[in-house]
């Protein structure tokens, strides 16, 4: 059975500045599988964030194909790309961006509000379950201001899992965290990949090598697998 859930074919992303065109991604061909933990590395400005934003349907490629579950998704309408994001993709950012006026449970419920497949009753239960999964069962009604950075990022992870996505994309998820919290976050993401999700993490940290199955490097606009020296 084909385990590919993401297939990129000749994916290109250009940015036009005043004087010239900058090619950030150059004809990328790659497939991402279920149940794998991918670490994407590369120097600053190499296009890692651009790549994951295209993967997360938050930006469109200039050219090339992006197949998500064999559906071409690179040029979708707002409504459809929103649907794909809600249904299949969970996103974790360096900044947690939690709603400061909602507690942990309420923040996790937010992505489920427009998901008709989850009933009102189920939402709260699911949010509790997810927070328990990320080790925050004692922080359910705490507000972001009462949580540490690591705890806030775990709430953000629980939020990204709210609609049971198949793909989890994390852009520098531990960029604002200390080593101890970094380990907790990567461990959690590893658990997600073990549960069958495709986890794609952009990180500068070497710690990610310990948890990733495949290490990718983005260099000069090209994506290639590298030995991560685990």
């Amino acid at each position: 059975m084909n385990k590919d859930i993401i297939k990129l074919t000749n994916l290109v992303k250009d940015y036009n500045t005043l004087n010239k065109k900058i090619e950030v991604l150059k004809k990328i061909n790659y497939s991402f599988d279920k149940g794998k933990f991918y670490a994407i590395k590369g120097h600053s400005g190499s296009g890692k964030s651009t790549l994951v934003k295209i993967l997360g349907l938050m930006d469109n490629p200039t050219s090339g194909k992006y197949l998500l579950f064999n559906n071409e998704v690179s040029k979708l309408s707002d409504k459809l790309s929103s649907y794909y994001r809600m249904k299949h993709i969970g996103f974790i950012f360096q900044e947690y961006n939690l709603n400061p006026y909602l507690n942990a449970i309420e923040n996790v419920i937010v992505p489920m509000l427009f998901n008709a497949e989850i009933s009102k009753k189920e939402r709260k239960e699911k949010a509790k379950e997810l927070l328990k999964k990320v080790g925050l069962e004692n922080r359910l009604t705490h507000f972001p201001s009462d949580l540490s950075g690591g705890e806030q990022q775990r709430v953000a992870i629980a939020r990204s899992l709210a609609n049971s996505p198949d793909i989890l994309i994390a852009d520098e998820p531990t960029g604002n965290l200390d080593k101890a919290n970094e380990k907790i976050i990567f461990k959690l993401l590893k658990e997600m990949s073990n549960e069958g999700k495709c986890v794609i993490v952009v990180s500068h940290s070497d710690e990610v090598n310990l948890y990733s199955d495949i290490c990718l490097e983005l260099d000069n606009g090209k994506l290639k697998e590298v030995n991560h020296g685990k």
Binding site: S49, T50, K53, G56, M58, D59, N60, D78, K79, S82, Y83, Y84, R85, M86, K87, I89, F91, F93, E95, N97, N99, Y101, L102, E106, I109, V110, P111, L113, F114, N115, K120, R123, F143, R159, S160, A162, N163
Partner: protein, 451 residues
């Protein structure tokens, strides 16, 4: 609409202090404008009622140098739209009676009563069935000199069971008519006559005070003649003409001028139009200032709010919210804030209105000082604010969410921008409140000085 979305909006409003500042400012502005609308409408209604219902506003003096009173009365009664013609000496008399129920001093006004001048009685006899020595009084009878003050004690009102069949003794002073007398004003005798209240009329229909009673025209003439103030009624050539409707006054005046009469340009009682216009202008300006201030305050508030929540909007987009769903969530929050302001304003308005109605304008309550009819105007006014807010809100949100999600998530709002947005809201709010209060005070001072 999902309950969770609404409850999230309410929770966010409840937990975010800055929302309460904006609710407080909008509430204050709405309350002020609602009060203006209420007074504007009630003032209009009161004037309209007075002019249309009270015959004094449709009565004016006429004079014909060649006609006797008798001849003029006969001639004038034939003119279209003229209800009644009578000698002004017999129009009314303020008088003291022996009524001292509920500690009232018995001060009342007796009026010249004919079928055309008196509303149909709601209890007992009507004016056309009245016999001599009988009178018709208001069903909420209040014979006291305090009737001309703002407050009347409602507990002292004489209701129909007490007043009907009550014998009222009227005591009229008769002054010495000898102009050579040295002690003219101290040389007073009294003429006393008893009347029985046999009918009650609704004084709100013709906007009479609650102490004005009608007696037969013949009784009135006799009383006035006995009290010796008129020496020769037939030589007195000024007459009062009562017109059926206020809009017919000009037509009647023209006809009378054509018949050779000198016609007084003003009605016997009239409203100071300058005062009315001043009140109307004040109300209109305040309402316009409130709309403009609310627009500016909400515009800046929404701008600030959306800019501060920009990254969160990006997260919502990343979570799979469509643009419209984000607009729904954000607008719902704004709508909830405005509805809270509206409800508090309406409640404040009702409380202030009840206080004013019962403690300040107590005397005028019978003319129907009312708030219920104004609710529609409040809703219309509030709708303008809501539509404006939604327009600004959706434009601001769209400006942000039309960008790519990565752009929304990457752009940072600097601190000075946040600070300046907040300062604008505070300044506009403070300015408009100070402006409105100063404006009201200046107008009040102006009115007081004019008086």
């Amino acid at each position: 609409m999902e309950n969770n979305i609404i409850s999230n909006s309410i929770k966010t409003i409840k937990r975010n202090k800055s929302n309460w500042y904006i609710i407080a400012i909008i509430t204050l502005l709405l309350t002020l404008s609602f009060l203006c609308i209420t007074f504007r409408l009630n003032f209009d209604k009161y004037n309209e009622y007075l002019e249309n219902r009270n015959i004094e506003f449709r009565t004016f003096y006429v004079y014909h140098e060649n006609n006797s009173n008798e001849k003029s009365i006969q001639e004038l009664k034939k003119v279209d739209h003229i209800l009644e013609v009578y000698n002004p000496n017999y129009a009314s008399r303020a008088i003291y009676s022996n009524i001292n129920l509920h500690n009232l001093d018995g001060s009342l006004v007796i009026r010249y009563g004919t079928q055309n001048l008196v509303p149909i009685s709601i209890e007992g006899k009507s004016i056309e069935d009245l016999d001599t020595n009988e009178m018709i009084c208001p069903y909420n009878f209040y014979p006291d000199s305090s009737i001309y003050e703002f407050n009347i004690d409602k507990n002292k009102i004489i209701h129909k069971d007490e007043s009907i069949n009550l014998i009222v003794s009227l005591k009229l002073p008769i002054y010495n008519n000898d102009t050579n007398s040295k002690d003219k004003y101290n040389d007073i005798t009294y003429y006393t006559r008893n009347f029985k209240i046999v009918g009650l009329y609704d004084n709100t229909i013709n906007m009479n005070d609650n102490n004005e009673c009608y007696i037969k025209a013949e009784d009135m003439i006799e009383i006035v003649n006995k009290s010796n103030t008129v020496t020769n009624q037939n030589e007195y050539t000024n007459l009062l003409v009562a017109v059926d409707k206020i809009q017919n006054i000009e037509a009647v005046r023209e006809q009378l001028i054509n018949l050779g009469y000198e016609v007084n340009e003003e009605t016997r009682v009239y409203i100071d139009k300058n005062l009315i216009n001043t009140v109307k202008i004040i109300s209109n300006i305040i309402i316009i200032v409130v709309i403009i201030s609310s627009f500016l305050i909400l515009k800046n508030y929404i701008y600030k709010k959306i800019r501060n929540e920009k990254k969160y909007l990006g997260i919502l987009r990343a979570c799979g919210y469509t643009k419209n769903q984000i607009i729904i969530c954000q607008s719902l929050e704004l709508l909830t804030e405005l509805i809270i302001s509206f409800i508090i304003s309406i409640l404040t308005e009702i409380i202030v209105f009840i206080i004013l109605k019962n403690y300040i304008f107590n005397k005028y309550t019978y003319i129907g000082l009312d708030i219920s009819n104004n609710i529609l105007y409040f809703i219309m006014f509030f709708s303008i604010i809501i539509v404006l807010s939604f327009l600004i809100d959706s434009i601001q949100i769209r400006k942000i969410i039309n960008n790519s999600i990565s752009y929304i998530l990457n752009e940072n709002l600097n601190k000075s921008e946040k600070k300046s947005n907040m300062n604008i809201i505070k300044k506009v709010g403070l300015f408009s409140i100070i402006f409105i209060i100063t404006f009201i005070l200046l107008c009040l001072i102006n009115i007081i000085l004019k008086k």
